[in-house]
């Protein structure tokens, strides 16, 4: 059982969400309120363990009196606010944003993307076959993980996880600008020559599979990756005394990747290189 530390009590504030009065604790976002009310607002760049960058704009909602739409993931609820989550305007923006994304990057490994594209009636193909795409080859420069920029939606989550929000390694950043912006290490070199410490916390937060375990990448390539057939077992890392939780993803009796529960109050889903990648000794087959 995971223990959840109790936060100090917070005052409640009331606002109107889709014509229904709701009460949320001070400091809650509109998205928090939506989720508490059981509304399904799509999100991509929002991460449960990170401060959202609100860059993807698929969670936009209409706030009465505002000229533009607001990102639900980061706009704090204010008393008396009147918010609508499912208007023609919000549906239009979400549809177009999904079209823009799907026409420029590969969303095939993005959970729920296909469902949203269908639900919002998005037609990514209507920009024509000439529509500019990233179209980049995956960068495989080490045995631990792969950077596939063709799937990157620039959500900034990996940058935040590597930077001051978790790992403090600051090994990656956004470089360039506009459509040419990319995630890169210093001087855009290979990962092995960068400040990367291979904690894999960036893979943990990547919402699209642009960052993936080398093992997963290879198995997907040869068609043997089968998420349905995998079991997940959460255990305790044996390398040191901190006691981080590991979730072992096992397929055909082999560990294929390691993640960590995000609701763990110690690690919040983060691990170090040993916990994340050092599992070969369990199944050493030479």
């Amino acid at each position: 059982m995971t223990t959840v530390p109790l936060a100090p009590p917070r005052r409640l504030l009331e606002f109107t969400l889709d014509d229904t009065p709701v009460r949320v604790p001070e400091g809650a976002t509109i998205l928090d309120a939506c989720r508490a009310a059981g509304k399904d607002v799509p999100t991509l760049c929002h991460g449960d363990t990170l401060t959202p960058k609100n860059a993807c704009r698929v969670c936009v909602v209409e706030v009465e009196g505002a000229r533009t739409l607001a990102p639900a993931c980061s706009r704090l609820a204010e008393p008396g606010m009147v918010v609508r989550t499912d208007t023609e305007r919000t549906r239009h923006s979400r549809k177009v944003v999904l079209e823009l994304l799907a026409s420029s990057v590969d969303l095939s490994t993005t959970p729920r993307a296909a469902e949203w594209i269908k639900g919002y009636g998005a037609e990514p193909d209507r920009f024509g076959p000439e529509a500019r795409r990233l179209g980049e080859e995956p960068r495989v420069d080490n045995d631990l993980y792969v950077r596939d920029y063709d799937k990157c939606i620039l959500c900034y989550k990996c940058v935040d996880a590597c930077g001051d929000q978790w790992q403090n390694s600051f090994a990656i950043s956004v470089t360039g600008r506009g459509f040419d912006a990319r995630i890169a290490v210093e001087h855009d070199g290979p990962l092995t020559e960068s400040a990367c410490v291979y904690c894999g916390n960036c893979i943990e937060v990547c919402p699209t599979g642009a960052l993936s375990f080398k093992r997963e990448f290879d198995m997907r390539a040869d068609g043997s990756w089968d998420e349905e057939a995998q079991t997940e077992t959460t255990t305790v890392c044996a390398y040191c005394g901190v006691g981080c939780n590991l979730t072992l993803h096992v397929q055909d009796n082999e560990i294929v990747k390691v993640t960590s529960p995000h609701d763990n109050p110690v690690t919040h889903g983060n691990l170090c290189i040993k916990g994340r990648f050092g599992f070969q000794h369990v199944q050493n087959r030479v």
Partner: protein, 679 residues
Amino acid sequence: MDLRFGDSKPTDDERRAVDAVLGPPESAWEGADDRSAEDLRWARGGREARERRDLLLPGLHALNDRVGWISEGGLDYLCRRLTVPPAEAYGVATFYAMFAVRPRPAQVLHVCTDLTCAARGSAAVTAGLEAEGVAFEPSPCLGLCERAPAALLVRAGVERDEGQAHDPAPPGPGSSLLGALGGQAPTAARPLNSAVPGGTTRGGGPTRLARVIAPATVGALAGVARNPEAAEAEAPAVMAVPQAGHAARPVRPGGRVVPTLPQTPSGGTPTALRDDCPQPHALQLLRRVGVVDPGSVDDYRAHGGYAALRRAFALGPAGVIREVTESGLVGRGGAAFPTGRKWQATASQPDAPHYVVCNADESEPGTFKDRVVMEGDPYALVEAMTVAGYAVGAHRGYLYIRGEYPRAYERLTHAIDEARARGLLGDDILGSGFAFDIEMRRGAGAYICGEETALFNSIEGYRGEPRSKPPFPVEKGLFGKPTAANNVETLVNVLPILTQGAEAFRATETKLFCVSGNVDRPGVYELPFGATLDELLDLAGRPDTLRAVLLGGAAGGFVRPDELDIPLTFEGTRAAGTTLGSGVVLVLDESVDLPRILLRIAEFFRDESCGQCVPCRVGTVRQEEALHRIKDRTGEAAAGDIALLREVGQALRDASICGLGQTAWNAVESAIDRLGVYK
């Protein structure tokens, strides 16, 4: 922090360039080569070094100015000095158009191919340069639209006396090559450990030569590219003000009376009489341009300078804010937010310190009014920033000026230095006990940095990406502290408010317009609010066959020839479904290929999008693609793509983080709806 700085070493030149900004490293912890016994006992850096991160941009400029590009060794050394992660610094360096992270020639010729220059024949110039074999880079608007087509030549690593480089009292900016060419007197030297770090004047003379060539001809550019030193001196700033030097004339030729402004007691000898330009009223914001010596604080004072600051000290901060609020002054950057309310909101924040930021990153294509004010009357801006600082309780102001304005940068650097030397900036201004100083920051080619929150990020040494609002700058602005950010034109308006009083100001309030394109007398015009577009075009000399006017720049909208009675006020333009924006009035005649202009607008937004949010990053690309598809089409053949443009445009407007994305579809939409461009 767990930083790794790599093994690449800076060259001596690069080390000197960085040290000129930061001073020599004090220990191996800070990047010195040799480790002393003391270094083994004491660790330095940490927070103290990180708090200097705002020197990253000046440091990158120093490297780029010295070598022409930013090498791995140079960048790593700068990162070590400032404790900035190299990946982040690389992300910052690659954000700006004027920096390169791959080797390139020391000399770069930027030829403007933006709206006005395109309308005035930049294509012929670039074609000619290609034929001549002269290397150049196409550039977005250089803000020299009254002299279009324009070019800017930048050469890194200008020779200088190496002995002087280590001189503890280096020559000031006024003695620089540019300053000398601009006719400025040499200025007093600034001590190395000056109160204001990060000015590129610290520790050595200029390492960059920047030369403006406008109007640009193939011959002139080829000559300058081969021998930059032999370039002709730039036309004085007053040449951009066709109204300058005229006596007041209450009635404009054409018969209708334009509200008359009281003649200001400025005195002085007009330097540029332009007899071909009718003059309907006295100038208020431009009255000193061409009259005052932009290099002399004494001359500025002789022309009424620093009267406003004295009045401010007499009124007290709350009195100044009251006066500005009563004047009804609204921001001239395009958003038209009431300045008094902004100042009041900043002043009343309990968090400290407060900052004043002057947004002089005028990058809207077709806009050049702030440049003309800064070049022609730089002390006015220094004084106005001081007044703003006094009003909102700030002791430090940042002046963020676009990197493409070498002369304005030199003049303001000089003005700030001289004001400081004369006690008009510093610890005890005019004996009032009020302390205020101004730091200059040079942009590096990014339109988005004109967005106030992106500008804060840029100053702080991060990528110039806009932040989400709320929180607003008055609450959390520069360095996360309460900040009043105003553009140049807004700030200089504060001077007449204080000298005349709010009521008199309201009666005579004026607006600056940047008129360019197919007119007889392009330039900056100052008109009382309420004058119509028609009257402005009369002053500037309209073309025979007017096709359209782009009002407000690339983020604004087109106006038809039969709509010229639009009053040039914020309310009037809004009622007419357009915007004053940054005061751009780009006049296009029948010779202009509109679809091509729209393509250029789309290309501009695609190029200048920071890439942070999806609607803008991808939407601007899709907009440009659709316009490419229909550039030679009309009617039914274009209908599908126009519908697509509308859908993308609506999402751009609704869902983008900042104004760049929100306005990227405005001009195109107005061209379709008001001009019927693809009909």
